[in-house]
């Protein structure tokens, strides 16, 4: 995987291919309004991979569904701008978004067994998706399905195309879903925890496959995961989300080598990487993520933050805005930059 090379490779088109500005997704419930995504902005160029890291309830999936125009529930409200190749999807009619979905943008889900229909063969489902977006005949679509299954590494694709999803193993189902998502050569691929349900050896195969196809098709990829190891290996840029907001955003090198936000520090301390010295105790983050209904006016991470007392009370009262801490490295934290650097060097890094 070429995390480092991706940024340069994407400069062919200097304008961002996808630009998201102040995206908000809210759900009204009897208990109050849930702010699942709360003002997220980022941009992405062709051929680039953005890793989105966050825990359950951080808004990663709500965000990706909104990008694809799939937040259609009656209680869901989406606002902000989603510019795909200079077309604002948030303002576009549903029919137009539907047209783009599948052809220009596609998604891979975590659970391939529930994303595939159990009553139809895998090949039929891929062909069906292809025919919906192109003028291909049944025969052409079938040939395309077999070709795609071969490209994602299914052995004997012509025969396996006639199998049903339950006859595929977990890794093969994920491959089939990737084949379906990429059958129309989309320019934007959103992969929502594509390897979480898989074994590590199969995960390595699938990540390699996505990277290979991405290099070939020059696709922009949003890789959503809770696994920092996956991000470190596969993404050129990293976005850390917490409680629906962006906490930190920068190149993957920046985020891992000089993490800025106390939440990122906590995540890095919690993981059990094989490159770390072995420890009896891990540096866990105390507490649990907040409810998204009654968020405090301050920083959402404040109740769990070890350093919130060093912000002069700001963390509890004012929402930190995302600012640029150093070139291309953004952080939403009230700690002054020099303090943050000093805390990281003195109190956090030695424990990692």
């Amino acid at each position: 995987m070429t995390g480092a090379g991706q940024a340069e490779a994407g400069t062919a088109a200097s304008r961002p291919f996808l630009a998201v500005e102040d995206l908000r997704v809210t759900f009204s419930t009897p208990d109050g309004v849930i702010k699942a995504v709360d003002g997220v902005s980022f941009s992405l160029r062709r051929g680039q991979t953005l890793g989105v890291v966050g825990e359950s309830g951080s808004g990663k999936t709500a965000m990706s569904l909104a990008l694809l125009g799939l937040q259609t529930g009656r209680t869901a409200r989406v606002s902000g701008h989603i510019r795909l190749d200079d077309e604002d999807l948030a303002a576009a009619p549903k029919s137009r978004v539907r047209e783009l979905r599948g052809s220009s943008m596609a998604m891979i889900f975590q659970d391939a067994l529930s994303a595939l229909h159990p009553f139809y063969t895998v090949g039929w489902q891929i062909a069906e998706a292809y025919r919906a977006k192109t003028d291909a005949t049944r025969k052409q679509a079938r040939a395309r399905a077999v070709e795609m299954l071969g490209r994602v590494g299914i052995p004997q694709p012509a025969q396996r195309a006639d199998d049903y999803p339950h006859q595929f193993s977990g890794g093969m189902r994920q491959r089939a879903m990737i084949a379906m998502a990429l059958s129309c050569e989309p320019e934007l691929l959103i992969a929502d925890e594509p390897t979480t349900a898989l074994d590590v050896t199969v995960q390595a195969q699938i990540l390699e496959l996505i990277a290979g196809l991405q290099a070939e098709l020059h696709t922009a990829v949003i890789l959503i995961t809770h696994d920092l190891g996956v991000v470190a290996e596969a993404a050129g840029e990293t976005l850390v989300m917490y409680a629906g907001r962006v906490m930190e955003h920068g190149s993957t090198e920046q985020v891992f080598a000089a993490p800025q936000h106390p939440y990122t520090w906590g995540l890095l301390g919690s993981v059990t990487g094989l490159n770390r010295p072995r420890r009896e105790r891990l540096a866990a983050i105390p507490g649990a993520p907040p409810s998204l209904i009654d968020l405090s006016p301050g920083c959402p991470f404040q109740p769990r933050c070890r350093f919130e007392d060093r912000t002069g009370g700001l963390a509890a009262t004012a929402r930190p805005e995302l600012r640029e801490a150093s070139g291309g490295h953004w952080v939403a934290c009230h700690l002054p930059d020099p303090d943050r650097a000093a805390i990281f060097a003195a109190e956090v890094q030695p424990a990692l």
Binding site: V200, G229, F256, L274, R278, R279, A283, I285
Partner: protein
Amino acid sequence: MTSPAVSGPAVGEPAGELLRVHELVKHFPADRGVVLRRAAGRVRAVDGISFTMRRGETLGLVGETGCGKSTTGRMLAGYLPATSGQVTFDGTDLAQARRADGRRLHREIQMIFQDPYSALNPRHTVGTIIGAPFRYQRITPPGGIRRRVQELLEQVGLSPEHYNRHPADFSGGQRQRICVARAIALSPKLVIADEPVSALDVSIQAQIINLLTDLRDQQGMAYLFIAHDLSVVRHTSDRVAVMYLGKIVELADNELLYSRPRHPYTRALLSAVPIPDPRVRKERLQLAGEPPSPLNPPSGCRFRTRCWKAQEICATTEPLLAGQDARHQVACHFPEAP
């Protein structure tokens, strides 16, 4: 390990031995046909594994989906009968002891499951759930069940006021704490933890791992820690056993396994774990394909179909778990040099 009081020297002196598993086998019948069922073979989920555990020791049992690690845990906990093999627990034969007094064994061997959502009855209160082992065993702890349950709640990092709440009021991490409290309620000698943190968020995983470590340091129980990848087990285990298709392929002290893996599969498994540091670029030993079916495992060494070192002997002769160093055993004809 930094707690010498709990974990002694590397190899088990018989006195400190808690569990001895000898050639444990579990085959499930596989049927074909909906109306007329006929036997189509046997799924060799666990196919002859042997290991020992000392008191207070944590043994990591690692392998991928379908390797038989959970089946092993379930057999030891008494949820599944073994097809054959012998298990000695605390000096007595486990199968005999279970027939004689199964209830007593539940006091000594407890289990923690992967999914804390399905492991707790949603209609029961936390107090009922954690108090159940006492009622089932007809034990009244000093001060009464209620007081003991509230102590346990505090011990696992919850509050005594949670006694009358229901599981739905708790997050995944808190539910796993409830499961842990129930498992340790009767001070068992062995806790089988089947992927106890796999369903939890990263920041919560670390909390539960720390909790399990603290409890072991306080109470000295042994853990069989089942996991699907090698990174979690590294921080928790004294020794690690790697399983592939129903067999243990490598069994070694923690440091030895991670610094000098000897079985090709262990090496591949280690190299597949993504490293949370973009500056580290490692050579990956990519395994081709997927594990063969346990219905019809390959002859000889089961890993040979995916192994880059395989030769003729691997197809004809099954390698046995062996090694001159008792702290590091490997089942391979061509292992890496120690």
